[in-house]
Amino acid sequence: MDVLLRIRRSNPASNEAPRWDEFVADLEPADRVLDALRYVKWYLDGTLTFRSSCAQGICGSDGMRINGRNRLACKTLLRDVRQPITIEPMYGLQVIKDLVVDMKPFFGQYRSILPYLVNSDPAPEKERLQSQAQREIFDDSTKCILCACCTTSCPSYWANGAYVGPMAIVQAHRFLFDSRDQATERRLAIMSQPDGVWRCRTIFNCTEACPRGIEITRRIDEVRRALSFGMPRVVKDR
């Protein structure tokens, strides 16, 4: 079938003004938006620039704005989106070219929350044990693939890119609520900065945008509760 695409083209490094390009691609309904982008690049306009890697929804490389909503191009079927399919780069991060945005601030915010287990106890012979209940409490936030769909859908982040963003709070949650981690106070201090968890306005765009189905706003609220009322006992009892 013929698929009509409207793609936002821009090249800040050149003097060209940003523009909308239209393409018609011949694809199947069960093909994905990524297949349409590849069709354009391979057969119609080789200068179209976008990121992709695994093409199966796990690497998070091809996050972009499709018909006004942040999605992964490799997970969005053509039959599930209205034509013309409008494709733009994600908001809130600087555009490098076409659909490619500068992810450096995003990963900087990721690094700022200490995204690694901190445990200074001597390593046990086998694994560090935790109960199923303890594992369950942070299971949701382990699913994050760092695609940036949530952070670039957040109006608070659009207003001020210094906000640490939903992804960073979810990643902080993953370690905060991990009973094996020992840097709780330090992590909570980082989260309670003015640009930390208090900038969230509970808008819910992040939860809607997440391609992994993480209940981001709920996790952010759990971090706020931990700051306000203390960590839940199931995590504290190691």
């Binding site: 700022s112 608070s156 207003a159 001020n160 210094a162 106070e185 330090r186 909570l188 201090a189 980082i190 309670s192 900065q193 003015p194 640009d195 930390g196 968890v197 208090w198 900038r199 706020r224 700051l227 306000s228």
Partner: protein, 129 residues
């Protein structure tokens, strides 16, 4: 609790800092205000006809010190809640340092002014006419 420094640190980072307090205050004051304001509205506009509201009405209400305390709570909580919210919104959008400072000072000044004026009225009272 260890204070943590980071490149972005302004005040020392602690778990229970102004951000936490502000957040909890907005929630607590919001709930209280919901009751205070609804009861106030019912008294002023439902039980009484709004056209009968004059200084005598106020004087009569305020002859009972309980109502003065009630109004004092409503005044301070409403101002604090509303102006703290304005401060938060201003910090979201006004990123220029000098303008941000000016707006925050204006909000603080307005809050103090209205609390003083309102407080003077509540404490001083009104005379029957």
């Amino acid at each position: 609790m260890a204070a943590v420094t980071s490149p972005q640190a302004g005040p020392a980072l602690r778990r229970g800092n102004w951000g936490t307090l502000s957040y909890l205050f907005m929630r607590g004051s919001g709930v209280l205000l919901a009751f205070l304001v609804i009861i106030h509205f019912v008294i002023q506009h439902v039980i009484n006809d709004v056209y009968t509201l004059d200084l005598n009405f106020v004087a009569q209400r305020w002859s009972n010190p309980g109502w003065r305390v009630y109004d004092a709570f409503m005044l301070t909580l409403a101002l604090a809640h509303g102006l703290n919210g304005s401060r938060i919104v201003a910090n979201d959008y006004i990123l220029h340092p000098a303008w941000n400072r000016a707006v925050n000072l204006a909000i603080l000044a307005a809050g103090l002014l209205w609390i003083v004026v309102g407080g003077t009225a509540i404490i001083g009272g009104v005379r029957f006419m």
